[in-house]
Subunit: 276 residues, 2 copies
């Protein structure tokens, strides 16, 4: 796997970098950003972004460099979908296709050959971390659609991800408009196949992590009631005995201002798990 | 002066907000962002942005909220020019007109009625701070073109600004391509009139502050040699006895990754002056 380094910015003695590479999974060029602190770095956190985002949003806005500087842990922020394929419907809406990969392996015509973001993260990004960055342990977190991605990957592969956290995740996509549209578009009409990509359904099916998940959710988030359905995660986790620390944050919305406010807690949470 | 609140994001217990208002100085609508920490706030720092920026860049990318949270000091980030006038040449290049006001009072035809960013900051923004935000003391800082603005306003009005700092400032605009183009476009061919907006020329003319300026300059900044001319400030300050702490930062470029790395030092510098 050849990585092409596009740009380097020295930041807090470490390096913020932008890469692209030809993906064996998506059969397209894929992009990601990283922040690698100065000194010995043995662990990584994968950040999965939300709808409309690419590899830039988190690394420019969240302030992660200040927090990770001086630690042994890097962050990697992949783009949220393949780009530039011109598949039918790929560029017609903000919540499907480009910028909206939903971290699934598509099975529908056209999409199935490229929109395989589950495998892209699980296999290719994790493999890049191990081979290129010499990383030993990996944790995962994300926001909104990316919070959904982090929870799904973390629940399905506890042996790969040492800890899992999310900001404003879509916890029950089979039951909300964003999720239904995306899962139908990528997986087709057979709703049973959607359940592999739904955190609440994974809990129902018996998936369980021994550690506790961390979730922050703003109470002024405009998407809370219709799309995110955080209460469903709360009740499913209780019913199936999954530890989860859901923190409802008064006054906070769905933005990166919310993320930057609580990012310190999430990174501390992952550092403890990775170095524990 | 009626301010129209466009958006509020709770951030670190304080509020990141976006405003617009009809300006008496530019005779256009003007925009700015603010971060006001929770609790009693009596002081403000004005941030002036660089070429192509608007009121969003700093407040989304620099991580100032984390640093200002818990202090008695807010920040205000004005847009870098009037917008939407369709003056001749206003939208033809990134370094003149829209997004490139250069913090001068224009005297050339068309521009003289609107491009009065010096007065806009000095009179209207300072007045908004005092009347709307009930601020007692004000400091100023900026980046690149905005670093130039901060130095010029700070040198000319030490009685208004308690402290002055800059990232990668254009210190001698009468001698660099960006400055020459802008000063000629806004002030005309009479180069003597340009000197009021040139930090090095202000020092030559006898302007002096009793306090020390703080300047950070990346050594990997692509604009250092041709546009920023930091060495000229160094020699002029020495010759005319102006205290200035110029810190050359190895490996750092012209980006917001550079700014976020050293912003803590700049804010501490201003907090000391404002609360001293």
């Amino acid at each position: 796997m050849e990585l092409r380094l596009k740009k380097t910015h020295v930041t807090f003695k470490g390096k913020t970098q932008f890469f692209e590479h030809d993906s064996n999974v998506t059969k397209t060029m894929m992009s990601f950003s990283t922040y690698v602190p100065d000194g010995e770095v043995t662990n990584a956190i994968i950040w999965l972004s939300g709808l409309t985002c690419n590899e830039e949003n988190f690394i420019t806005k969240a302030g992660s460099q200040r927090i990770l500087s001086g630690t042994n842990t890097m962050i990697i922020c992949p783009d949220t979908s393949p780009r530039g394929l011109s598949l039918p419907g790929e560029n017609d809406s903000y919540d499907f296709g480009s910028g909206a990969g939903f971290y699934v392996n598509a099975t529908t015509e056209g999409y199935k050959d490229h929109y395989r973001m589950y495998d892209y993260i699980m296999d290719e990004v994790v493999s890049i971390l191990k081979s290129h960055f010499r990383i030993q342990k990996v944790s995962i977190m994300g926001h909104s659609m990316g919070g959904h991605g982090a929870l799904v990957l973390g629940m399905r592969k506890p042996e790969v991800f040492h800890s899992v956290s999310a900001f404003s995740p879509i916890v029950n996509p089979t039951q909300c408009p964003w999720g239904k549209k995306a899962l139908k578009g990528y997986l087709g009409d057979e709703e049973d196949t959607w359940k592999d990509y739904d955190t609440c359904e994974l809990l129902k099916s018996g998936k369980k992590r021994q550690d506790t998940l961390l979730v922050d959710q703003g109470l002024a988030d405009e998407f809370l009631e219709e799309q995110l359905l955080t209460k469903n995660l709360e009740s499913m986790a209780l019913e199936y005995g999954q530890g989860v620390n859901i923190r409802y944050q008064e006054g906070h919305d769905h933005s990166y201002y919310f993320i930057q406010t609580f990012l310190n807690d999430h990174i501390d949470f992952h550092l403890s798990a990775l170095n524990g």
